[in-house]
């Protein structure tokens, strides 16, 4: 049986934090550049140009493009033929986060929810684990900023509300968020499962490459229709007006119960910063 020592996990997570928190992923940078070309509003263009400049400055100065370096959300895929040695896997991940945020001079934004006491090292990470075939471990880090996380919503629709209900809920959520979540945004949508499953689907959909479509053509059409509707709201970059309110809508589904239709919308700001490593 293949073995992986937790020291390798710590190193990998540390490096993922350092890489992810500095600048957005390439797909996000590209999507912003395309939006800048297509924008018709002068103010919106100005904002998008500033965001491009910001990424260049972040790369040159090696400081984060956005100060909200987020709460570390980690998606783990662990092969069932793999053995982790050297200690506790989750402790190793948190150690990696601790080291990455410290070495990178990233903001420590994590605190206890009620007394608001900062943990001082951006831990704990939120860790989602899945067991897969094989003997590898896939670690994906998504530093999630809360300007956009705060604008996310979940609703248990009735089956009678159906597809129209889903579309209305997504649009309502984007309209309520308006200029708050740093548009242009990515709209992650989870449909089905149970309450927490819908939320997790919405979050996971944000990992997809921007502009990629759901392999199911029916869902891909809904994604495209919703993106058009969202960009017609006129909210625009930073809520200052324009045709670029969202860069993408990603939908993921899962079977649900005969009595229910859970829908979750997880909003992601333009600073999409996921990074992935395979050991």
């Amino acid at each position: 049986m293949k073995e992986i020592h937790t020291d390798r996990i710590i190193e990998a997570v540390e490096q993922l934090c350092i890489d992810a928190c500095l600048v957005p992923s390439d797909d996000a940078i590209k999507a912003l550049q395309t939006a800048e070309k297509n924008e018709t509003s002068i103010l919106a263009k100005e904002v998008l140009t500033e965001l491009s400049k910001n990424v260049s400055i972040a790369k040159n100065l090696r400081i984060p493009s956005c100060q909200d370096t987020g709460m570390a959300v980690i998606f783990l895929e662990i092969g069932q033929n793999l053995r982790i040695t050297g200690g506790n896997l989750y402790q190793a991940i948190n150690e990696g986060v601790r080291r990455g945020y410290e070495k990178g001079f990233f903001r420590k934004s994590v605190l206890s929810p009620i007394d608001r006491k900062n943990t001082g090292d951006n831990t704990p990470a939120v860790i989602h684990t899945e067991i897969c075939d094989g003997d590898i471990v896939n670690i994906t880090l998504m530093p999630k900023g809360f300007g956009s996380e705060n604008m996310s919503r979940l609703k248990m629709l009735t089956p009678a509300e159906g597809l129209d209900g889903i579309k209305n809920f997504v649009l309502e959520t984007v309209n309520m968020a308006a200029g708050n979540p740093c548009p242009p945004i990515i709209v992650g949508t989870g449909i089905g499962g149970t309450m927490e499953k819908a939320a997790l689907l919405a979050k996971k959909s944000l990992l997809r490459e921007i502009g990629s479509t759901n392999p199911d053509t029916f869902l891909a059409e809904i994604e495209s229709e919703l993106l058009t509707s969202i960009n017609k709201t006129g909210i625009g970059p930073q809520g200052l007006g324009g045709i670029t309110t969202a860069l993408a809508v990603h939908i993921e589904t899962f079977p649900t119960h005969i009595a229910g239709l859970p829908v979750a919308v997880n909003i992601q700001c333009h600073a999409v910063r996921h990074r992935q490593a395979t050991l």
Binding site: C66, F105, R107
Partner: protein, 181 residues
């Protein structure tokens, strides 16, 4: 379209004359403060306790910077969502605060208070933390250091790019965008 005009943070008269939608480059001293600092300022004033820094005629910037790496004045320092400060803002404006810098729309109460106090609200570009850090030429901690990233700093900025989102007459760019749709 407007070209960007330079303005000094201490020029209260000129700040009052700016119009919603104006693009400006701000120079001068501003203070920072976000959720936890606002809560503390609010509690101190409620108990009639003195504040550890001057509020009158100041501009407050809603930001919680990253730690400053060696050789840098400040870490990444873009704006945070302003609406979370809405509950505290009218009170601060009544204390003489001249204006706010943040991102996103404000409540009706805040807009009314801006109008009443002839204040101003600027939008900085959310997510442009590195670009804004490059405009910060001086940074010193002035209060609440126990709040970590939420402590209050005094910043000296040069050519900080901003948009007038709500002017001293209470015109809001977000309402104009809303009514257009």
């Amino acid at each position: 379209m407007n070209t960007r005009k330079s303005i000094n943070a201490d020029n209260t008269k000129e700040l009052e004359l700016l119009k919603c939608g104006d693009l400006v480059l701000l120079d001068g001293f501003i203070i920072t403060g976000r959720d936890a600092a606002h809560k503390r300022i609010f509690e101190l004033t409620k108990r009639n306790m003195p504040l550890p820094f001057k509020i009158k005629d100041q501009l407050i910037y809603y930001t919680g910077p990253c730690p400053s790496p060696p050789g840098h004045v400040i870490g990444s320092c873009g704006p945070t969502t302003s609406s979370r400060m809405d509950a505290y803002t009218p009170e601060l404006l009544d204390l003489g605060l001249k204006g706010m810098i943040g991102k996103g729309p404000r409540s009706k109460q805040v807009i009314d208070s801006i109008k009443k106090n002839k204040a101003i609200y600027f939008a900085a570009t959310g997510g442009a933390g590195a670009l804004i850090a490059s405009c910060v030429k001086g940074c010193s901690l002035i209060a609440f250091d126990d709040l970590g990233p939420e402590a209050v700093y005094k910043l000296y900025v040069e050519q900080f790019p901003l948009i007038v989102a709500i002017d001293s007459c209470g015109n809001s760019i977000y309402e104009i965008v809303d009514s257009r749709n």
